[in-house]
């Protein structure tokens, strides 16, 4: 990859990576650090990486950086909390807000596959390469993520009614 191609990667994929990270880590400063570290690694290895494969490579590096960061912080909400969602008597006017709230309560892997699928439009194979998962695992994770969000929406719908 040339310097020019590296710069094209910066201009094309940075916002997407930043959104992907920020959805998982609610800390803007930490998300920015992860983006910066990801590009530093890309720059170091740019001679070994082809321009065509740079995008999934970037997301993979960002994903692993993020996992390291999360492990360090260990302040994430566990999947068990999902059962308490229905107890919240919050009313939402905007469905998208509800969906995002539900998504934020998903386990990391479920949330990440869903983000890569819906935000970036990746197919199962590409998501699998980024997250070191098989195609079928990716599909099952997306299925479970959607099912969990759907259940959350249905419970809120019942509460509102």
């Amino acid at each position: 990859m040339t310097t020019q191609e590296y710069n094209i990667c910066v201009q094309t994929h940075t916002d997407g990576i930043y959104r992907f990270i920020l959805k998982n880590i609610k800390d803007e400063f930490e998300a920015e650090n992860i983006v910066q570290n990801t590009y530093e690694k890309l720059w170091i290895r740019k001679d070994k990486i082809e321009f065509k494969t740079a995008k999934p490579y970037l997301f993979k590096m960002a994903y692993h950086e993020m996992i390291d960061s999360i492990r360090k912080q260990k302040n994430r909400v566990s999947f068990d909390d999902i059962g308490e969602i229905a107890a919240e008597e919050e009313l939402y006017n905007n469905t998208m807000e509800v969906v995002k709230k539900a998504m934020n309560r998903l386990p990391e892997k479920y949330k990440n596959v869903l983000l890569l699928r819906d935000y970036e439009g990746y197919d199962y194979r590409s998501i699998g390469k980024i997250m070191d998962l098989s195609d079928s695992q990716v599909k099952i994770y997306i299925f479970r993520a959607r099912k969990t969000i759907k259940a959350y929406l249905q419970k809120l719908d019942v509460l509102v009614l």
Partner: protein, 153 residues
């Protein structure tokens, strides 16, 4: 493709994900419209599709960019050095021959110069003029340079 209690979740999921063929999509949609339960399930499942927040952008993108000029400058610099060396070599090889020719021209050819080209033909009207007026010098009549310029104000 018939939806039942066991398979409807996966089939609706495949419909949402675009994993079904066009024909299967139509069949499933028909069944969704016929069943109130499936219609509600589909309605909630469709809402699980999330869209990116386009307002969220990384504000330091320019800091990540790498300058292109450094490498180009180095290449141009290297090329210019190579070109300079080549030029000096060419001059050192060709120079004495050229100078010899030039000195030959300066010493011998100007005094013995007699035009044989089209410039000789071009000088015929001047020669005729000189025969009529008996002078080898031609003045341009009415030249403004003869009078000093004075301001009209």
């Amino acid at each position: 493709m018939k939806l039942n209690a066991k398979n409807y979740e996966w089939i609706l999921f495949d419909l949402l994900e675009g994993n079904l063929s066009h024909q299967d999509e139509l069949l499933v949609m028909e069944q969704i419209e016929e069943s109130e339960f499936l219609f509600k399930e589909w309605k909630f499942l469709k809402q699980t599709k999330i869209s990116a927040d386009d307002e969220v952008v990384y504000s330091h993108t320019s800091d990540l960019l790498k300058p292109l000029s450094k490498k180009r400058y180095f290449m141009d610099y290297g090329q210019s050095i190579a070109a300079s060396i080549l030029f000096i070599l060419l001059i050192s090889l060709m120079g004495p021959v050229k100078l010899g020719n030039n000195s030959f021209l300066l010493n011998s050819s100007i005094s013995n110069y007699s035009p044989k080209s089209t410039t000789e033909e071009a000088s015929i009207p001047l020669k005729k003029y000189q025969q009529h007026h008996g002078s080898s010098t031609v003045y341009i009549s009415g030249s403004s340079l003869k009078k000093p310029w004075t301001s009209p104000f």
